[in-house]
Symmetry: C2
Subunit: 296 residues, 2 copies
């Protein structure tokens, strides 16, 4: 279940409340495009900004419209108590796995994070995806902690940060395969690094952009998993203007601007204080959407 | 009101719920020691981990036991909607000012942060303290943003990060006095930097340790504000073993270990996943408490 393309949709807001109609329509588009799974309430799904009831309702909407495609749910929170509440809610709402980010305010130690994942697996029947992204969580995993986490039952996959160099990616995947049991899949994140990560042997792509614009990302993933890494690399290279926008403004603001431009969300769909891109920035996003024919 | 020593108490937990009896006793100790104000729900007060009801109840407890000493309340949250809810709750609970931290998950722009503070001052009658601490919020203010914030009515004080060098501190305060109107006070944070900040002309010390161990910090502040900066510097130098522990483990975990050691909170008073210091680390904290006679 933790292989192929997992699409991370936005959770669009409208008048500062979750826009369930928009979320449902996005989920139906992802299903139609043939993604392998849908991860709601990732960083792209603004999990950190939503309260408990909003989160459970968003998961329920996604499950209702996913037509059997597995739905994974982000349940991260600063406090373990809240993570466990979200995990129970996600299971009740029909999620098939949990994405757990060790999000921090006070810096966390490795023992804190091991304790968090231990508490989660003891309180849920669902498989757990470990979210490793120091850029958002401000926690840096090391291999000793990976090894300790791999001993916990229920850890099913690790979402690793992007790796900027092909040789480094191959070396890193070799190390991880030695470190981790076969039952734990490895998924690449950082959309610009996806083709390289899949070529290096990742099992999955945990993708921001595929949560909004899925078809080219499905094609890229299918090519890579069929072994045609030249085609996947070419597909990724073609999207370089999009990756450049992600690098400049962050993937969330750019993806939200695309969704708003294409009518998939209303203007200002991100939670305040995040204002989204300004008009000049949006014009550049719209030009890239047209150039890459992302509206298709 | 935004001058002198503002003490930031812990919000001790017991069995994963706010220990109001412990909080009340801490507040009464601060009042007895003669602090100028009490800021509940700062970073030291674990605001980021507490839900809305817990926050309002903690403020109410502090106000009830503060015997007229002004109580300020941290109201930070990732989403503006929640900040405004906390601000209204704090006012209802009797807080006399709001501490607003531009805490972030997705990186914020200067326009986002200006929008946040604009929304806050439009929705509250209470004066606002700007919390500038990139180490916890991951947002770095610049002087252009300070100047724009200073134009907002209701901004009463800025809590600035510590400055490691005396000459740099004097130069920075000179710059800030030019930039900011007289009605906005400047408070130093980073306890190890307090004497230097007050010598450089800060009006206030926003203090972590004074929220748990107040008397020596009151004495240091009184000396500095009376112009006896040599005495303040000597008082700070005497506390160097404590500052070294803060640098090594962070001020929160050390302060919690001190409070637990002195019976002001029960063991594991921090919100999980934060486990607090281990036994060996605690032995070193206890030795410093004895050496510096902090239990007095």
């Amino acid at each position: 279940m933790f292989t192929g393309l997992s699409a991370f949709p936005l959770t669009p807001l409208r008048d500062d409340a979750v826009d369930h109609e928009a979320l449902a329509a996005i989920v139906r588009r992802l299903v139609a495009a043939g993604v392998d799974s849908i991860t709601v309430l990732g960083s792209t799904g603004s999990y950190a900004y939503l309260d408990r009831a909003e989160r459970q309702a968003a998961i329920a909407t996604a499950v209702e419209h996913a037509d059997g495609v597995p739905v994974f749910a982000g349940v991260g929170a600063l406090r373990t108590k809240h993570v466990l509440e979200h995990a129970a809610d996600a299971q009740d709402a029909g999620a098939q796995a949990l994405l757990v980010a060790p999000v921090s305010y006070q810096p966390l130690t490795a023992d804190d994070v091991l304790g968090l994942f231990t508490d989660v697996v003891e309180h849920t029947d669902l498989p757990v995806i470990v979210y490793d992204n120091p850029g958002t969580t401000r926690f840096a995993f090391d291999d000793a902690l990976y090894a300790r986490l791999a001993d916990l039952p229920g850890i099913a996959s690790i979402k690793i940060p992007g790796i900027a160099d092909a040789a480094a990616a191959h070396e890193r995947l070799r190390e991880l395969r030695e470190l981790l049991p076969d039952r734990i899949t490895i998924g690449i994140s950082g959309d610009a690094h996806a083709a390289r990560g899949l070529a290096a042997g990742c099992d999955a792509w945990y993708s921001v952009i595929a949560g909004t614009i899925a078809p080219p990302m499905v094609a890229l993933t299918r090519a890579a998993l069929a072994g045609d890494h030249d085609a996947a690399a070419a597909a990724s290279a073609r999207l370089q203007p999009l990756w450049d926008l992600f690098a400049e403004h962050g993937s969330l603001r750019v993806t939200a601007a695309i969704a708003e431009h294409l009518g998939m969300a209303t203007r200002s769909c991100l939670p305040r204080p995040i204002l989204g891109l300004d008009d000049e920035q949006r014009r550049r996003v719209h030009a890239v959407v047209a150039e890459l024919e992302l509206e298709a």
